[in-house]
Symmetry: C2
DNA sequence: CGCGACGTTGATTTGCCTCAACGATTGTGG
DNA sequence: CCACAATCGTTGAGGCAAATCAACGTCGCG
């Protein structure tokens, strides 16, 4: 029982680790705290860590030349977050990952993950399975992006992720859905009036 | 040297197989031909196979109640295609996968993949790496979905995938970009006039 | 207390869709 | 091998969903 136990439980839902493997795994982890509005990842820095959220809420987004931002992902308890493109190729990040609330994370760095793969190959399976799910998740998001109206996307989001919808600022939700905050506000009024 | 060698080469770019492993792998594969317009996957049937494209061109799409279709993916030589959500959970498919050209595929079924994971764990790594890349690919697509105008998405698509753009019917490209075929046609005119 | 971040509201504009009609191209059966 | 139908792409008129712009309320925090 230690500070890494939330992640150990999560891992054990997918693969079985013996005590020795658990210890080894834990030796590769680190615990990080982040205050609201702090950045976990910034553009041009290589994303060194995959982070598992123990507590709190974060978002990954990019900004364009006009200063608009587009959020790619929210992460709350029991989710992973990273600039995945930057992480897997160890190239400079393009995303910002920012804490929406004070948050606590368990992190594993790139080299540790490679070590883990060679020392405890079960982790190949673990991350394969997780990534496969995330892939399917993104496919669904693409479908809603191209097939739904703004109102439908919003309704879909709040019914699918009520806990996230309740915790994040409205403008981040708008930037996740790909609409303006003004329009989201109008949608919300329309829905509350009916 | 056999009909599976294109896939073996592809696999060998990621992991090293000895002769015995190659043989075992090949014993799990099958070669399939598909004529233009034929379906590889249909809704309500479980997607049994992952298919590697040796030759040809296919698309995965869904249709909504209004008969609109939304294409999720194109696949040409050296790509994989499946209804991934259906495949990994072995639940009924929601997608249609259709041959755009006469095509040749190398397929591996779900049970074979599970066997492969247990007999040759290197394949865990292989599919992990591939899936990670696909994930990053989808993330980029989401960004263009929510950040670009139709014209920008179109230009982006034809510069990134000129070979695909040249091979697929316009209406499939429109349904990939999330716009109507009429509007795509107008964009094309606009671009050719300037 | 006052400023900045966040959300709301209304007026106006625009990107894209809808609908309808019409070429062009393909392919298929007689 | 032609004829005709189906499939695919184009064009234009009109309409709507969502963006833009601008102004204002409100809340939380330094």
């Amino acid at each position: 029982m230690n500070e890494f136990s939330p992640l150990l439980q999560y891992v054990n839902r997918h693969i079985q680790l013996n005590e020795q493997e658990e210890e080894y795994f834990c030796s590769l982890l680190r615990y990080t705290r982040l205050r609201k509005k702090q950045y976990l990842i910034q553009p041009d820095y290589v994303c060194k860590y995959k982070s598992y959220v123990v507590k709190g809420c974060l978002r990954a987004f990019i900004t364009d030349d006009k200063g608009e931002d587009y959020t790619l992902q929210f992460a709350v308890e029991d989710w992973w977050i990273a600039d995945f493109g930057s992480f897997i190729n160890q190239v400079p990040a393009t995303m910002i990952v920012e804490a929406i609330e004070d948050s606590e994370l368990i992190q594993i760095d790139y080299n540790a993950v490679q070590l883990l793969y060679s020392q405890v190959p079960k982790f190949e399976r673990f991350f394969r399975v997780i990534t496969e799910r995330s892939y399917v998740f993104l496919q669904k998001r693409i479908i809603s992006n191209i097939s739904m109206t703004a109102e439908e996307k919003y309704r879909d989001f709040i019914t699918r992720y009520p806990n996230i919808a309740a915790r994040v600022p409205q403008y981040t939700m708008a930037s996740y859905l790909g609409i303006t905050t003004e329009f989201l506000s109008k949608i919300r009024r329309r829905l509350s009036e009916s």
